[in-house]
């Protein structure tokens, strides 16, 4: 197991105004890996999708807590964990299908597809009634190889 070198842990209420705060906090933390603009865009997109899922789906009728954790591994890997203690997902596989949504026409059903496409790995663990944890890993290209 690799030692985590630096991390942040932020908890905030599931208010939609915090979507922007969360993705920008993750991007600023990631800046120490010297990412490209494209990689910063990917990180912001993935975090925005994960946090929006918590706000829209985990806590549909109440305001609950969302936790964002970011950790650095070595010189080039960022791990992002977005956790909630909301309603959970009955069928994770179904929820991850592109275009599947329970959010009506305000949502595109592309949240998990974006997280998957814009990071290098995505894991979703959910227990109905207990909450959901989304873990993503993003490798940042080293400057020498660009």
């Amino acid at each position: 197991m690799m030692k985590a070198e630096n991390y942040i842990k932020i908890e905030f209420p599931s208010l939609s105004v915090n979507e922007s705060f969360a993705r920008n906090a993750a991007a600023v933390f990631a800046a120490q890996l010297d990412p490209t603009l494209d990689e910063i865009g990917d990180i912001k997109t993935a975090v925005s999708e994960a946090v929006t899922n918590c706000i829209v789906h985990a806590y549909p009728n109440e305001i609950g807590n969302i936790q964002l954790r970011c950790r650095l591994f070595g010189k080039n890997t960022l791990e992002i964990v977005v956790r909630d203690w909301g309603v959970g997902i009955e069928d994770v596989e179904k929820a991850m299908e592109p275009l599947f949504t329970t959010g009506g026409d305000e949502r595109s059903g592309m949240g998990f597809s974006m997280m998957e496409g814009f990071t290098d790995s995505l894991k979703v663990r959910s227990v109905p009634g207990k909450g959901t944890t989304v873990t993503m890993k993003k490798r940042i290209s080293s400057r020498a190889r660009r």
Binding site: D38, G41, E106, M110, M114
Partner: protein
């Protein structure tokens, strides 16, 4: 997120500025809907020059705006799409449904 609209000879131009997410998309969509209902345009252009970030909420904004315009038998297109929004739209293959021009 701000929404600015201009109307001339049947064409409604809607310029968005800022970051599109689930939070900002709600108010933006309401303002877009109001502008369309007021002007009933034949042609509608969504100008994303001022948008440097969107998540998948932006996809729903494009599709809902296009649907509203098509209900009026109007034409709809999206212009000046910058790199990050372009990547999001491509990931969802929005280009097969909506006429999108990138920022050059």
């Amino acid at each position: 997120m701000s929404v600015q609209t201009t109307y001339d000879k049947g064409e409604l131009r809607i310029a968005l500025n800022g970051e599109i997410d689930h939070h900002s998309a709600k108010t933006a969509m309401n303002e877009i809907s109001d502008a369309i209902d007021q002007k009933l345009p034949r042609n509608c252009v969504l100008d994303l020059m001022g948008v440097n970030f969107t998540d998948s909420s932006g996809i729903a904004v494009l599709l809902r705006t296009q649907k509203k315009i098509h209900e009026l038998d109007g034409e709809f297109s999206v212009e000046n799409v910058r790199a990050q929004p372009s990547k999001v739209f491509k990931a969802a293959n929005v280009g097969i449904m909506v006429a999108i021009k990138e920022y050059k």
